[in-house]
């Protein structure tokens, strides 16, 4: 049995008929065609699937797609302004905070949720905001530095709420 899902994704309305057991992650990736969010564990452990749901970070792998009906989802694809990169993205590049890049979409989203809420964050805040994002490549040092630098910049990208 499938049910209709209407959800705003990165500011655009999307709809799909989905089975109740489908995760938000699988619907984003397979039905809506956004492969930025990654599946690293399917169990709320790695954070590679992190998206914002009405501005709050959630693990899309562990969120039922139908629970997002009528709500707004932002994925990594919706973060950069049309003419460039979000400060978090720019600073991650400049700092060398990207290696294999598989964790990066989730890191960008957790960091964005933090900066949107608390642009005055310090190192501890950043570390804790990233507690649910595993990165096996970088050792986190350059990611933390990049997020702190992004926080010190005035613009934090386009509004992601409809």
């Amino acid at each position: 049995m499938r049910y209709p899902l209407n959800v705003t994704v990165n500011g655009l309305r999307a709809s799909a008929d989905v089975e109740p057991h489908r995760s938000l992650l699988s619907v984003l990736r397979e039905e809506i065609g956004l492969t930025g969010p990654k599946e690293g564990c399917d169990d709320s452990e790695c954070g590679a699937c992190m998206v914002l749901l009405d501005g709050e970070p959630v693990n899309a792998c562990s969120y039922l797609a139908l629970q997002t009906d009528g709500r707004a989802v932002t994925t990594v694809e919706g973060v950069a302004p049309a003419d460039g990169l979000h400060p978090i993205q720019r600073e991650l590049l400049a700092a060398g905070g990207v290696q294999c890049g598989f964790c990066t979409p989730g890191i960008v989203m957790s960091a964005k949720a933090l900066l949107d809420r608390n642009p005055d964050c310090d190192e501890d805040d950043v570390r804790h905001a990233l507690a649910g994002n595993l990165c096996r490549c970088t050792g986190y040092q350059k990611i933390i530095a990049a997020v702190l630098r992004a926080a010190r910049q005035p613009e934090h990208g386009p509004a992601d709420r409809p």
Binding site: A80, L85, T138
Partner: protein, 767 residues
């Protein structure tokens, strides 16, 4: 150097970075195919059993199922890098819990899983062998009764349940012990650990006619191609391996894995088929874990701290198959002396079959475990003779002119310099330590792998360039960094190069992202290709400018007359009218001279080419109530020769250190019988951002160029080798007791603190 300013050693932004931060980068599981089917494997679920019967009829009849295959549907080919001991699907016997018995392709992942669950297999259980000691006892069941019939690489010495043993001998070990005034015997054990790339394995295969294209999460596309061709018995030219972006590997994606299984499913269904591993499968079925090890060390010393002799015995648990495990044993064997003067040595290492998940070359195979054991032992020796750990090391570390365990002569004193610099950065012996805190030190060495490689380079009509390489980017940035080397030769900007990589139909053969070898070997190949283009450019420009080639230089994307910068031609102008193509393979530098008299077995790393050295110092804090250890800081000093891409190299060190903090304190598989008890990221914890120590990194130069491009050495693996050892020594310093098992988790630290003899660290004594 060609231009006025070198691009080497400068910060540069990797070419694949922007698509990775925006989410546009496509990884294997992101690719879309028309008519795609989904694969699911059927696993044994038991450690050791004979297959009595397999019944796939019910599974094959289920809705949406297109194929159910077993070994009966595949050529009966035994494969394996060192020992050909394995078939694609289980043949008559299963030897570990996640041995693949059958594979299903269906139109949805759910239907594939349901059909896999419906495959009926009847087993007759056999006695399981679950640890290395039991496996080597004469009474143990032989896990590969036909082992004598298996084909092997040259020089592999084997025995029942031992798929490769070697010995390393130097001097006269009995005489060395006779000379000793004190001696110490210790045993250290490490648990199985995992590579844990955040991207799980994924494979897509699609046939067109006789040819199969396989998109896969491989670190080694060419060996994967060879594996598919060998096991399906088709020519390598009919197999194209493409690796989209790779989400990390750390060795776990080396060797040939599941490509052939998926290709078989795709051939049987004539549809593209995709396999994506769950995290659980990643732990159980990815037959590429870090070896559990048992390391026995006996060392003789004089009262002044001089080491006179060592005996060492390493048992590495290879699991059910050999795979590429001999890398780990051969390297482990070369780590037992450490970077110390050990004039008399007898060491042996065994690669032992058990009914556990097969082991292989996880980042720095054989390194961290052996370095950890040797460096704990080194601190205990220092204690035995009453010397500070740094002073004891200074008295024994190799310097320029000394010889290593196989007689290799060292040309620099980098071990010593790394130690001094790390001590300075860490403030040894730790002046501002809080209650429960202490510092611990570890020193080690590593090699640069010297192997053939290849690349092409062409200039495009607009004056940009394209590098076409066989090299594989695992995320470290080593392939991205090739642009630096090309740019340096051609007076261009690294950003002016695009790179076509990890496609076996495009680039020349390369062993892949293994052995930290990309810059060292493919770097030389790219430079050679660039030089060919450079020669052509200069010849054409000389003609146009009517001047001798030697009076020209390549600067800022143009050819210009030396000393007359206004007389120049942009590269685009020359490239638009000419074919500027180069190819290179670079000549691998030879191994340093060495002497294997008395040694035995296949010694693939009989000397270390362009050896690099490091010293790590960790500060730890131990909570005596709970046994929980935290690590506020690690200092990591490495001598990597010339560092070409400092940002990239720092990233390798920081990432490696944090990975190995996990190995030190958290990461280990627990077993119950033949089953992993913690095959998930909740039970098998990695270091997270809040727990990650601050890493202070410093690089030292090597005065001697040892054959890498511009004097560079291997960078990727050494950073994981030393940290567990430094943390272990710090724990012992903080608690007065030593934890002899890795990981040194809270339970083990607590137990060590509360055992009756806590405080009496060492059972050493008069020789």
């Amino acid at each position: 150097m060609t231009g006025t300013t070198s691009v080497l050693g400068q910060r540069f932004v990797r070419r694949d970075g922007p698509e990775k931060v925006t989410g546009e980068a496509r990884y294997t599981a992101d690719l879309a195919f028309t008519g795609l089917l989904h694969a699911k494997f059927v696993y044994a679920g038991r450690a050791h059993a004979r297959i009595v019967a397999i019944d796939t009829t019910e599974a094959a009849r289920m809705p949406g199922v297109h194929a159910v295959l077993t070994q009966a549907d595949a050529p009966l080919v035994r494969y394996g890098m060192f020992v050909k001991d394995r078939t694609l699907f289980a043949h008559e016997v299963v030897r570990f819990e996640a041995e693949i018995v059958a594979a299903v392709a269906a139109d949805t992942p759910e239907r594939a899983a349901a059909a896999a669950a419906a495959v009926r297999v009847e087993y007759e259980d056999l006695p399981a062998v679950l640890d290395v000691d039991a496996a080597l006892s004469p009474a143990a069941p032989v896990l590969h009764p036909d082992w004598l019939d298996y084909r092997t690489q040259d020089g592999v010495l084997r025995a029942p349940n031992d798929c490769g043993h070697m010995t390393s001998v130097k001097g006269d070990v009995d005489a060395g012990f006779a000379e000793a005034e004190l001696q110490l015997t210790e045993t250290y054990c490490s648990d199985m650990a995992h590579a844990v790339p955040i991207e799980p394995h994924a494979v897509v295969a699609q046939w067109q006619g006789e040819k199969v294209t396989i998109w896969t999460t491989s670190q080694v596309p060419f060996p994967a191609r060879a594996g598919v061709a060998e096991t399906l018995q088709i020519p390598q030219s009919n197999v194209r391996i493409v690796v989209p972006h790779l989400g990390g590997g750390f060795g776990g994606k080396c060797d040939f894995h599941f490509e052939a299984h998926v290709a078989l499913l795709a051939r049987a269904t004539r549809r593209p088929v995709r396999l994506v591993f769950s995290r659980r499968e990643e732990f159980l079925a990815t037959d590429k874990v870090r070896h559990a090890a048992r390391i026995e060390l006996t060392t003789g010393v004089k009262r002044d701290g001089t080491i006179t002799a060592r005996r060492a015995r390493l048992l590495l648990d290879s699991g059910a198959y050999c795979g590429d495990a001999l890398f780990a044993t051969e390297i482990g064997l070369m780590m037992v002396a450490g970077p110390y003067r050990v004039p008399n040595l007898y060491a042996e290492v065994h690669t032992v079959y058990t009914n556990r998940t097969p082991a292989g070359s996880v980042r720095a195979p054989g390194g961290p475990q052996t370095c950890w054991a040797v460096e704990q032992h080194t601190d205990e020796l220092a204690r035995l003779v009453g010397l500070d750990p740094l002073e004891f090391r200074r008295r024994n570390l190799v310097r320029a002119g000394d010889t290593g365990q196989t007689g290799q002569r060292f040309v620099s004193s980098s071990a010593q310099r790394c130690l001094d610099r790390a001590a300075e950065l860490a403030g040894w012996p730790g002046t501002d330590l809080a209650e429960g805190e202490a510092l611990g030190v570890a020193v080690g060495w590593w090699f640069s792998l010297s192997v053939p490689s290849g690349a092409y380079l062409k200039l495009n009509p607009d004056g940009t360039g394209t590098i076409i390489t066989g090299a594989q980017e695992n995320g470290s940035g080593s392939v991205m960094g090739l642009a630096l080397l090309a740019a340096e030769e051609l007076g261009m900007r690294p950003e002016a190069f695009s790179i076509l990589y990890q496609d076996t139909d495009a680039g020349p053969f390369d062993i892949g992202s293994a052995g930290s070898q990309t810059t060292f070997n493919n770097g030389r190949a790219v430079m050679e290709a660039a030089r060919e283009v450079r020669e052509k450019l200069l010849a054409l420009a000389a003609e146009r400018l009517e001047i001798h080639q030697r009076d020209l230089e390549l600067v800022d994307g143009s050819v210009r007359v030396k000393g007359a910068p206004t007389r120049s031609i942009p590269l685009a102008e020359i490239a638009a009218g000419a074919q500027l193509i180069g190819s290179g393979s670079g000549t691998p530098p030879p191994l340093p001279e060495h002497d294997l008299t008395g040694c035995g077995g296949r010694l693939g790393y009989s000397a270390f080419a362009a050896p690099s050295f490091f010293c790590h110092i960790a500060r730890v804090r131990v909570d005596r109530e709970t046994g929980v250890v935290s690590v506020p800081e690690v200092v990591a000093v490495h001598e990597f020769g010339r560092v070409l891409n400092p940002l990239g190299a720092q990233g390798q060190v920081e990432g490696g250190v944090i990975q190995s903090v996990g190995m030190a304190l958290l990461e280990g598989s627990q077993y119950d019988g033949g089953h992993q008890l913690n095959p998930g990221l909740l039970g098998y914890k990695l270091v997270t951002a809040p727990d990650a120590p601050t890493v202070t990194v410093d690089f030292l130069d090597d005065a001697v160029d040892q054959g890498g491009p511009h004097g560079a050495k291997a960078v990727g693996e050494p950073p994981v080798v030393g940290t567990p050892a430094a943390i272990g020594n710090a724990i012992a310093a903080a608690t007065g007791t030593r934890v002899r098992a890795l990981p040194m988790n809270a339970e083990r630290v607590w137990t060590a603190l509360h055992r009756p003899s806590a405080g009496a660290v060492t059972a050493g004594g008069e020789a």
